[in-house]
Amino acid sequence: MGRYVIGRIGAAAATLFAASIVIFSFIHLIPGDPVSVMLGDAATPEQVAALRERMGLDEPIWVQYLVWAGNALQGDLGRSIFFETPVTQVIADGAETSILLALITMIWIVLFGIPVGILAAIRQGTWIDQGLSGLAMLLASVPTFWVGLYLILIFAAGLGWFPSSGYPSIFEGGGLANLQYLLLPSIALAAPNAALILRLTRASMLDVSREDFVRTARAKGIRPSRVVLRHILRNALLAVVSAFGFTFAALISEAVVTETVFALPGIGRTVVQSILRRDYPVIQGVILVTVCLYLVINLLVDLSYRLLDPRVEL
């Protein structure tokens, strides 16, 4: 167990190192001088020189990388050109919205995808199964922004049940009631991913239900519901859990769209605006943090295998 964890952390560190080189070189891949691109046409030569100096662009490139990576390791991701504040501060400002959005979305995905997938599997071939599979296909096919816009049209603009945009922090008055601002965005974000989990749960349940040990369980004379939950589902979840790593990756990219549609002050929207503002330190910082998060989530997914499947030797 210990050796496996250390090995996996080592592999994650190597991935992070490779990613950091890509993220770092990204600023040098911009055609022309990064500083004049960042500052735009109207910049004076003094401003350009000052920014070059601040960014250390006159040093050899490997020195620049070491300085950047060393600072990043100490939690210093540089300063935002637009906000004139540390990048970590910019990320922290959007973190509450993005983390809560991701959590609520994950809850929807689990609460909808898995039980409905089970239902479709145990009703295989009936109109319930066909209806649910059709619904899943539909949800997986429509783009997140389209679902988001329609949710706004119907439930915010039309019925007025939920706010259509923005998110005031739950720590600044309003408390947990502010979570209603995240309801529609989280549903829009969950829809395609829950549909994928639904289909995966259904397919995996059907695969497992053909296994010999399920017949053994039935032969014991235990209740069919127990066969489904304790024998089939328990094994089917192995495949579903591994999909959560990918689901998380999908959430990151789709959150960019969702936060923009619902005007949420999250990291996804920050990164879009930073791209438009050519605020490269922020873009680099967000990508680096996202990579770290992704590595941690996948490490946790792999470790959770051990809990679900005793055959996995760690």
Binding site: D212, R215, T216, A219, G221, I222, R230, R234, L308, D309
Partner: protein, 321 residues
């Protein structure tokens, strides 16, 4: 005790069903091992799954009945049999490697059956006792083992323990030793024979291996293309088979004294369900077949000693087909 009458299992559309098991009648008594013998695809496993109420989707019992101690259990799934107090059939499957749930401990899997069939017993004590009955060493500690930590022979013993947890009157064993090494095979056969005698239960032992039949059977039923072509006590049946198929099957047993003659085989292959010819299904491969064999009903031959065969031209003692 267990009495099967004219059992028919069909698959495919109801308007044009395909017969997989075509009118099988058999009975098993306490302390008796009945071996059901036949080539792959002859309907042995489907017969046993039909007895258990575990037919796969698409297959169904379309005729006949299964009675246990006078109660009709033909169309009851196992959990309904338990609820009706008739859950007294248990089964051991062919593949010990895949027949246990890979993610739970074997103790848990045995206790699950104990709770259903022995609600008053302490599940852990009973599970340990069952492991001891199938002679698993260090039973108390093995309860916490996962299936992948055990060898094939040990897993098959666990399967038998699970079946015994159901307190069966009749144990159905579907090729339980086919996937095992010969030495392990012997041990498992010994355990089944012993349990049959000690617990006074009936056993239906399904196999294609006549060597195994000779070791373990009290009575034999030979199956071909969904029908029982011959039944009888093991000794007379081996000494003087009535049906040419039985005789040919036994001729295929390797005989060390006759090595130079090469391997005997039965030419052709067994018909698949849906392609079974009229009349005697074995006729196309049978050296004794006449025109009368290729259509109409095949007569039942019943010489003395409870024997029975389906054949127009049964063999006399010492005759070969």
């Amino acid at each position: 005790m267990l009495s099967v009458t004219d059992l028919t299992v069909s698959a495919g559309p109801r308007t044009s069903p395909i017969g997989i098991v075509r009118g099988v009648s058999l009975g098993v008594d306490q302390g008796e091992i009945l071996c059901l013998v036949g080539e792959s695809g002859c309907g042995k496993s489907m017969t046993s799954l039909a007895l258990m109420g575990l037919l796969p989707p698409g297959a169904r019992v379309s005729g006949g009945s299964v009675e246990l101690d006078g109660h009709d259990i033909t169309h009851l799934a196992p959990h309904r049999r338990v609820r009706a107090g008739r859950g007294k059939l248990a089964m051991v499957f062919q593949e010990p490697m895949t027949s246990l749930n890979p993610v739970t401990r074997i103790g848990w899997q045995i206790e699950e059956a104990v709770r259903v069939h022995d609600p008053d017993a302490n599940p852990t004590d009973r599970a340990r006792e069952l492991l001891e009955m199938v002679r698993i060493p260090d039973a108390a500690n093995q309860l916490s083992a996962y299936p992948h930590e055990l060898s094939g022979g040990m897993r098959q013993r666990v399967m038998i323990a699970i079946a015994l947890a159901c307190r069966p009157r009749v144990l159905i064993a579907d090729e339980p030793t086919t996937a095992l090494d010969v030495t392990i095979q012997r041990q498992v056969l010994g355990i089944i024979r012993e349990l049959c005698d000690d617990l006074d239960m009936g056993v239906i032992f399904i196999t294609h291996d006549l060597g195994v039949v000779a070791q373990i059977a009290d009575r034999v039923a030979v199956m071909y293309a969904g029908r029982l072509v011959e039944t009888g006590a093991v000794a007379p049946l081996f000494r003087a088979p009535l049906h040419p198929y039985t005789e040919r099957l036994m001729a295929c047993l390797p005989d060390p004294a006759a090595r130079s003659k090469g391997f005997a085989t039965i030419p052709g292959s067994a018909p698949r369900p849906g392609e079974i010819p009229d009349g005697c299904a074995f006729a196309p491969r049978c050296p004794r077949a006449q025109d009368v064999c290729r259509g109409g009903e095949v007569p039942v031959v019943r010489p003395e000693g409870g024997r029975r065969a389906l054949c127009h031209f049964p063999l006399a003692e010492g005759e070969t087909a």
